[in-house]
């Protein structure tokens, strides 16, 4: 997959200042990783949502393999989200009334990359194996974050979008989660686009851009 960000500026930000992304052209190919760093309110979530195709309030173009994502139809976008782009939302977007396992299964059954057993294995690695049967609304935010991570890793993808995915995890759990994400990206030879408040210590060697 090739992702091209071409002169993109959010309509609601008048001055994009010294951003290395807004108003610039950049291109990413599998299996590149890009770390977007910016303080709160500078548009990290907007940027991730623009790339995922759920918001179009920007100027410029975002191209997936040369195709403008804002011009894709509903079914085309659905297919893209099933097979090619996966995401971990900042606000997680879990079904609160469903168990952790059901939340993950809802995604896995849509386009399975792993079998059902993989869920338990990943949950064990991330320390939430005992939470799988629990309703997500009763889980802590950190636990929900790990459920959302496992859910995002259940499908095939060529691009993984992460929007502050470890904000409620301690350093140890961050490391475990990051290792798992790296392994899964490696398996798929996928790109990774991670947005966070500051550069994470274990991503020192990755390319990073300021928003």
């Amino acid at each position: 997959m090739e992702l091209t960000i071409n002169n993109v500026r959010p309509q609601y930000i008048a001055d994009t200042g010294h951003s290395e992304i807004w108003g610039r052209t950049l291109s990413m190919m599998s299996p590149h990783h890009l770390h977007v760093v910016a303080p709160s309110g500078s548009g990290k979530t907007s940027f991730i949502h623009f790339v995922y195709g759920i918001r179009t309030d920007y100027s410029g173009t975002i191209l997936i393999d040369g195709k403008d994502i804002s011009k894709m139809g509903f079914e085309e976008k659905a297919l893209l989200r099933q097979k090619r782009i996966s995401i971990i939302f900042q606000d997680l977007k879990l079904f609160p009334g469903q168990s952790a396992l059901d939340n993950i299964e809802i995604k896995r059954k849509l386009s399975p990359f792993h079998d059902r057993d993989a869920i338990a294995k990943m949950a064990t690695r991330l320390g939430i194996a005992d939470k799988l049967s629990q309703k997500t609304v009763t889980c802590s935010y950190g636990e929900q974050q790990r459920i959302a991570i496992i859910r995002a890793l259940m499908q095939p993808f060529e691009l993984l979008l992460l929007d502050e995915p470890f904000s409620h995890l301690d350093e140890d759990n961050r490391m475990k989660a990051m290792e798992l994400i790296y392994e899964e990206c490696e398996k798929r030879k996928a790109m990774m686009l991670l947005a966070d408040l500051k550069k994470l210590s274990f991503l020192e060697s990755e390319k990073s851009l300021r928003l």
Binding site: F74, E75, A78, Q82, K93, F95, Q98, I106, L110
Partner: protein, 394 residues
């Protein structure tokens, strides 16, 4: 592993709303009424086919004249070329044949066997319109013998009044051997012919002579080459077709009421059943609107979950189709119950004496087709509506 609707079913909150039950009951009642109307429509067709006079031929022949009313009495009520064109254009009428009448005076005596003499009216019609065409029903100028086709009804009438007048009754076979002396006279002279009855007609109530003879007589004796057409024979597929009767009534054409009696009954019955069908259809529509309202309510109550499903990659088309088709068993149950009710009614009707066992105990093909079309329409329209609602959430 294929994705199943059951996997996401818990995320769609089906409310126990009263509109669902009103919709189900309404749909059942509406469907029963609609199916009954369709079935009754078919029943009327088959009953009237059974009741109508049996006719081996594929066509009916009707004698059409102009209705004589107080307004047009005394005026020329013959058929004009426009009338003929109008009749020819009517799709229910296969063929039209004018009946020509004599413009000269014709008087018949039957010699010694039947001692009577009478003025006659003679008519001729295209021979393809005759129910029986004897081989010798032909005439050429100079021929002294004129063949006649006599109406069976006239023979019957004669046999009824003959005894009271001291005349002998005559059989259909005997009448052909009666010698008739025919005196034809007009402004241009008089001619005497011998005539014989060569056949009887059940179809046309008249005394028919060959077309050639009438043309010759009208021209040579009366000096008239453009004969007046006072009636017309039409060849139709179905004399009981209400549309045909409506057309004839509308244009002031008169036909024998008895021949089309069933057509008029059929018209009234079809209107009644039609009204029942329209009512049934309205109830079905109302129920479907209620059902659509219920589906919209369910989508509205589950909007957050549906929005989330769309965000993580569920296709709006798949969601709409799966959601709509999850009600398929309910539609099938409603249809099944309606079919059972209408089938029982049809079975009871078919065993009743007044139907003369002419009715099939089973539902007709149109009833099944109606059910099929309705289920298809319900699913198609609901899927579209649900998809539209879901797309609003993207």
């Amino acid at each position: 592993m294929a994705l199943k609707y059951n996997d996401i079913k818990p995320l769609l909150h089906s409310e126990r709303h009263s509109s669902k039950w009103v919709g189900i009951i309404g749909l059942t009642i509406g469907l029963v009424l609609l199916l009954l109307a369709v079935q009754m429509f078919t029943n009327i067709q088959s009953l009237l086919r059974e009741e109508a006079p049996k006719q081996a031929r594929a066509f009916d022949y009707l004698s059409v004249s102009k209705s004589i009313t107080n307004e047009n009495m005394g005026k020329d009520n013959s058929f004009t070329p426009n009338d003929l064109a109008l009749l020819n254009q009517e799709p229910q009428i296969t063929q039209v044949a004018p009946v020509n009448s004599n413009q000269f005076r014709a008087m018949a005596t039957a010699g010694d066997v039947l001692p009577f003499s009478t003025d006659l009216f003679l008519e001729s019609v295209n021979s393809t319109f005759l129910d029986r065409l004897p081989t010798n029903f032909d005439w050429h100028p100079g021929q002294s013998e004129v063949p006649i086709i006599f109406s069976s009804d006239f023979l019957e009438m004669y046999n009824v009044f003959a005894p009271s007048q001291g005349l002998p009754q005559v059989s259909a076979k005997t009448i052909s051997s009666v010698n008739i002396f025919l005196q034809c006279s007009g402004v241009r002279g008089t001619h005497n012919f011998k005539a014989s009855i060569v056949g009887l007609s059940d179809r046309i109530n008249s005394i028919l002579v060959p077309e050639n003879f009438l043309k010759w007589g009208n021209a040579q004796l009366a000096g008239d080459t453009s004969p007046r057409i006072s009636r017309i024979i039409i060849k139709v597929k179905d004399a009981n077709d209400p549309e045909l009767l409506h057309f004839l009534d509308e244009n002031n054409f008169h036909i024998n009421k008895d021949k089309v009696r069933f057509g008029r009954i059929k018209g009234v019955l079809q209107s009644t059943v039609g009204a029942l069908g329209v009512f049934g259809l309205l109830v079905v529509l109302l129920a479907l609107i209620l059902f659509a309202f219920y589906l919209q309510l369910t989508i509205s109550n589950s909007r957050d979950n549906i929005h989330l499903l769309l965000l993580i990659g569920y296709s709006p088309g798949w969601l709409a189709k799966s959601f709509t088709f999850s009600y398929f068993p309910l539609y099938v149950t409603i249809t099944f119950i309606s079919l059972i009710i209408v089938s029982v009614i049809q079975f009871i009707l078919s065993t009743m004496e007044f139907t003369h066992t002419a009715l099939s105990p089973y539902l007709s093909v149109p009833a099944w087709v109606t059910v099929g079309v309705l289920i298809f329409l319900i699913l198609y329209l609901n899927t579209r509506m649900v998809r539209k609602e879901i797309l609003k959430l993207t």
